[in-house]
């Protein structure tokens, strides 16, 4: 018998600190496997953002930089401009990327910055305890929405980041994937791999938005959270490749 599935070398020995069933762990694994398969571990530089995944710098077996809340794309830009041959990625939550970090992500895309973004959309601020995120669904209850959940007339609409960034000329690859079952997890990995390949080909900005769960702050079991993602997030956040430059292989 052969091992057909084992932990990637691009993951360190540190145990994840995430809540039971939190999909951050799945995404870590996918990114690590892609880094290993593309053989770029020794020139990869990852940017950890501020959110539950702030400690990613402990989990990836590559050089890592912890960035201020929302500023990972700017930090990634700094790294990439100094070492154009490095493989630079950021790992950001929806509060980090789609709220405070909007300017930085939009302009990294507009510059066609040759970096890859892993965007974890779990429709909530996980780390700070369940406040409303820009991606929170209308009606979804959070600690700052009041008992009725997000009200469209008061707090507006969930931001569809992939659609927005696709309109920007510098973006080369934009995809939205989901983790709600093993099949989609495999697709998510394919998209992440494409994103890194786009970077390796020097095509410009790539981002994969990963629909994820936060069982703790959604107040559900991990299994129920997967179902909730499927039932509620997919309609608001359709999956697909929103942008793929013709030349992207």
């Amino acid at each position: 018998m052969a091992k057909v599935f084992q932990k990637s070398k691009a993951l360190s020995d540190a145990k994840f600190h995430y809540c039971p069933g939190c999909t951050h762990g799945i995404i870590h694994r996918l990114v690590a496997e892609v880094l290993e398969e593309l053989e770029v571990m020794d020139r990869a530089v990852g940017i950890a953002s501020v959110g539950c995944s702030v400690l990613t710098y402990k989990y990836f077996n590559v050089d890592m930089i912890q960035a201020a809340h929302g500023r990972a794309p700017a930090v990634a830009t700094g790294v990439k401009r100094v070492h154009p041959d490095s493989v630079v990625f950021s790992y950001q939550g929806d509060g980090d990327l789609a709220a405070i970090g909007t300017t930085e992500i939009v302009h990294a895309a507009a510059r066609g910055e040759n970096i890859s973004i892993i965007f974890v959309n779990n429709a909530i601020y996980g780390m700070t305890g369940g406040q409303m995120a820009p991606t929170t669904l209308v009606g979804q209850k959070c600690t700052t929405t009041g008992p009725g959940g997000r009200e469209r007339s008061h707090a507006g609409n969930p931001l569809r980041v992939s659609e927005m960034l696709s309109t920007i000329d510098g973006s080369a690859y934009i995809a939205r994937v989901s983790l709600h079952n093993p099949g989609h997890i495999n697709k998510a990995k394919k998209a992440i791999k494409t994103a890194f390949e786009v970077q390796l080909q020097g095509k410009g900005f790539s981002m994969v938005e990963v629909l994820s769960t936060c069982p703790t702050n959604w107040g559900m079991t991990p299994v129920a959270a997967m179902q909730w993602l499927k039932d509620n997030m997919l309609p608001q956040f359709p999956l697909g490749e929103f942008k793929k430059l013709a030349e992207v292989g």
Partner: protein, 70 residues
């Protein structure tokens, strides 16, 4: 023939593997691991197809899968 191995100490008992195993082979053990969780386990290993569904959904990289490859 296939086999799954659990790094029990990493398991957080989230039951995602159990939910997605097409053969319904996985359940939580009664014992408690060092982190205070009931770890996932497979009783009826013969039925395992090595489909990897469990490993793919496990957020804590607990599971290794082995299988006959041709």
């Amino acid at each position: 023939m296939a086999r799954v191995t659990f790094h029990e100490d990493w398991c957080k008992g989230c039951e995602l593997c159990a939910a997605f195993c097409p053969k319904n082979l996985i359940s939580l053990a009664d014992r408690i691991n060092e982190k205070g969780y009931r770890p996932a386990t497979v009783v009826d290993m013969q039925k395992c197809t090595g489909c990897m569904a469990c490993a793919l959904v496990c957020p804590d990289v607990v599971i290794e899968v082995e299988r006959e490859v041709s």
